[in-house]
Symmetry: C2
Subunit: 690 residues, 2 copies
Amino acid sequence: MVRPRSVAVVGASDDATRIGGRPIAYMMDQGFAGTILPVNPNRPKVQGLPAFASVSALPSVPDVAIVAVPGEAAVQAVADLGAKGCRAAIVFTAGFAEVDEAGAAMQDRLVAAARGHGMRILGPNCLGLFNAAVGFYPMFSTSFEQGWPIRGNIGIASQSGAYGTHVFAVSRARGLGTTVCVTTGNESDVSLGEVIGWMAQAPEVEVICAYAEGIRESDRFIAALDLARRNRKPVVMMKVGRSELGGHAAKSHTASIAGDDTITQAVLDEFGVVRAGTTEQMLDIAYAASRRIYPARNSLGVITVSGGAGVLISDAAEAAGIPMPPMPDDAQAKLKSLISFSAPRNPVDCTAQAVNQTEMFEHFLETTAEAGGYASMMVFLTQTGGSTTMAPKLRPYLKKAREKFSDRLWVLSVIASADKVKGYEEDGYLVFEDPTRAVAAIEAMGRFGAAFAAPPAEEIPVPEVTLPATTPTEAEGKRILAQAGVPAVPEKACASVAEAVAAADSFGYPVVGKILSPDILHKSEIGGVILDLANADAVREAHATLLARAAERAPGARIEGVLIAKQIKGAVEMALGVARDPVFGPVAMVGLGGVFIEILKDVSFRRCPFSEAEAEKMVRSLKGFPLLDGARGRPKADVKALAGALAALSRFAAGAGDRLLSVDVNPLLVLPEGQGAFAADAVIEVEETH
Amino acid sequence: MVRPRSVAVVGASDDATRIGGRPIAYMMDQGFAGTILPVNPNRPKVQGLPAFASVSALPSVPDVAIVAVPGEAAVQAVADLGAKGCRAAIVFTAGFAEVDEAGAAMQDRLVAAARGHGMRILGPNCLGLFNAAVGFYPMFSTSFEQGWPIRGNIGIASQSGAYGTHVFAVSRARGLGTTVCVTTGNESDVSLGEVIGWMAQAPEVEVICAYAEGIRESDRFIAALDLARRNRKPVVMMKVGRSELGGHAAKSHTASIAGDDTITQAVLDEFGVVRAGTTEQMLDIAYAASRRIYPARNSLGVITVSGGAGVLISDAAEAAGIPMPPMPDDAQAKLKSLISFSAPRNPVDCTAQAVNQTEMFEHFLETTAEAGGYASMMVFLTQTGGSTTMAPKLRPYLKKAREKFSDRLWVLSVIASADKVKGYEEDGYLVFEDPTRAVAAIEAMGRFGAAFAAPPAEEIPVPEVTLPATTPTEAEGKRILAQAGVPAVPEKACASVAEAVAAADSFGYPVVGKILSPDILHKSEIGGVILDLANADAVREAHATLLARAAERAPGARIEGVLIAKQIKGAVEMALGVARDPVFGPVAMVGLGGVFIEILKDVSFRRCPFSEAEAEKMVRSLKGFPLLDGARGRPKADVKALAGALAALSRFAAGAGDRLLSVDVNPLLVLPEGQGAFAADAVIEVEETH
């Protein structure tokens, strides 16, 4: 579909400005090397090419066909193409599932017609695609009137045709090379995920820019992101519809399911996909990625001619989370000795003097790179970098420093003419006018680097889970979860003192002892509850005391023994949960209880299953994490036990299958370090079997 | 200093590339109409102008002087200029307070020399200023090598010379008109606030772009922001040093006090100043402000040719807080009848069809503007707006719609050549390539509009406050605050049953009764505390019961009566406070107690004093506000009482003067609506008198 040797155009037009005419004109203009086979019942020739009256009249089986005929005729064309042996169609035709029920039914027939012949469909209601590497332009965009793609390594995958070509047009205006662009329209068959997956292995593409309104299927999407990461191809994604407003608009557009943005975000985070909020951000990141330097442990060294800009860049780096460690003391002293007014901590303010005495500039550049050891280097020169007198003097030093430290990501912030910018780019610099945008792009390169360097996801063993036929009681739910590795607050009915001591030993101290009798409803009234049993002796003594009190104060009550329960003190209340996302399946959630989850929505989500290490990362990502980490004079909480319970819950959910609708563990009581985490309440909701 | 008739240049150089040479060369090039008086002891002529050997040798008193001689010579020059009668100097010389203690001492001498003659100083260590309206260029920036300022209505006020001219250079590259730029350097005399204040009344300037590292003085700064608001001149401010990293760099630069960013932000919010995070944002906003349309009640109507972009714009509008109300049903039906595939809710997706049938486009534009009644209108056309075939057809309809609804802020998002953009701008459109940046700029115009429309700040009566000589006890502190209008939990020692009933009546029910005796330490042990007294009868009964129990269970104890206290139930715990900012004086704070303030720093600050209405705004701005507003099944809290206490605290702080170091009211217990808010604990810290 993307690199064919021949293409049929059903609904071919002689008019190069019509939908069925543009692709032919574009391919002829751009020297498509394959055969173009126009299908038009009314003309022997189309745009000078021999035309054929029908699909069946085609002289050969095309690798791919463009379908540009309206309504039912498109369904018929797909059926005819399938019968002819064609295996791929790009369907421009609109009026399908994006419009109404009748359209959705027609789309079903379109897909059925293709499936019957093992044929793949891009669209319907799509703008098409282009692959400039082979001059293939099955796309009816007017974009090309303003210029052809610049060759380069960016691929655009977009659900929206208009927005996909908008990104293309902006990238072209910025001089960025976009070789491939694929728009997926209604995604009746080929989905965005499959397109990303193709790009992840295609030599034409090194950087993937994706635009989504809603992810419709999980498997290919996940596989694509995984492959892109393994192949070290960064994916920048714009996923709109994150607001309620946006969500509404997304639903009225392209029959899309916007999905739960929080969950989509969790999936993107899982694979190191960087999410862009604007076209500009997306292309900044794509541009920066063109250097293919992705620092796994990012840090930023800044050389600036303006102290003010240094502060601004520091602010931006802090907000973005890029460390800017100070220069070593000796290196600072060395630079200070060169220019006494300089401020060489990092940002390294070399002052205008270093620019006027350019040999100073060389020292500042190289000393900062060498002694600072920063993974990313940013040089802020503002208009000096574009000055006709200064730029030619500075450029050789910049070039030399970059060559000497070629493993670093070098970024220049200058205001300069296009030709000067080009010169710096040829020397290996990324050039941004705005320093804040530069910082954002540097941060994204670090995130890619970290994702690429991460060990491959470990295989998480998924247990076999047999769910009850109906939603279980709370007690049964807790039992099921305890078996799965999410322990409930431990308690045991003990018939003997030996049993009581053994139970207490196994729970860890302190424990609580309670008289166990069906006839004593209010235990505390007869002194039937004893707290703070700190060791085995205390348990033995309490056992005797409880039995004695019962005999004295509730004579005649049937005594079954003593209940020993772990005493929960100083716990942090957490909430764990599992929900079933319609696209991504079971997802697990963790949050701090109370206001954090209810008012602040301070939660972390992830697809099930995942490891203890990932679970711990989720916990640490919470805004309220300080509460688990010793804030407000508390002891540190048992984060390992919490992460263990969360990971166990994720394995349980993955093993339980589609019948598991939801799990709520709220609260999960997390004790101080080393003392565990225990569910105090749990609800499991299952789909009833019939 | 900004529009002089004559300027002396002390340290004038014949070399047009030297610090003392550039201003002369620039002014000659740009036709400065006033007299330039070079001072140079070694040359009779400088750059062709007659030069004078010393300040005293000058033939007339210059309106202003540029000082470009090093170190002590600069101090001497200022003294000489003062003696000559000159009233203003722009001091380029560096090596003062920004360097070390000795430099600071020299700066003090510089200021003293000037003050003695009533002379004002810009700098030292400043890059100077320019006023292109009169060709006045006392600035040694190399910026002008790349082009002169474009005439327009933007003024730049910057503490940093390098960053100020960076902003100027970026604005020039974007085609924005910047007539005046003033850099303040070390601010030994003229501060950023005074510059903003000058711009707020100067006809040269309509939009003020300010850059600050730290605000050094409050009065002129506040007065300037107030004046700018009254004169409807928007101020966009970049204030760096908000991060810890940044704060550090700010201190090592220009001897600046970065101040507390939270408090600065509160001051900017107070005056409707929009804070920009990047140069790009600052200039986007300045550009948008050039239309001088500031919607006081902003709303956004969007017409788009791409559904995807519509979703993106909706997301951005929601994030920015601009409402996008849907179109009225009948207008939607009308548009839907024109193009059946259109989605005319808002965003109004008119589809490519409206662009192909341009008369449709006219209907969509005007119907959306008219029926939707949006204050701001955005049209997203992407490359279609730049298309050589399409743009000329669309432009007349765009122009007509804008003229018909000329009170609206009209924004176009297109990818187009510079000349096409210029055409749209001439038609009254703001043109942005990136729709998200357009949304941000539209949002800023609404914020300016709201600030300009706000009634002038009411005069807040400030009470006379007499502070104790030393930090008072908690009880005394609570008494002082109660007197000031921040009530403590009401309680009263009552010697008789009548007094008890009267106290309870005055507090409101329920109340708590407690036996009052210096001999009974643990009241509850003898049943000496009775809760939930719901009415006067219950108080009477409790009074008798308490006395009886005391007589029976603590015979011999001295009984002083009964303490009646308001019973606090279901309160939300808040924290109020006052701190003294070194620049802005007393500032009051409000936050929710517990994790909100300690972990999340969810607080709101404002300069003292302020009104109840402002106090309520602060409360409502808290992230945790839902907890006061009925979240989690609680009753709504008494926000009016909370706001009343906060406003009273602000008046108290304003009246207390410099000796009030801090106040902490923590917790302030806020009861359900209508039941009040009461301090349970309060600490007032005062500077001891000697």
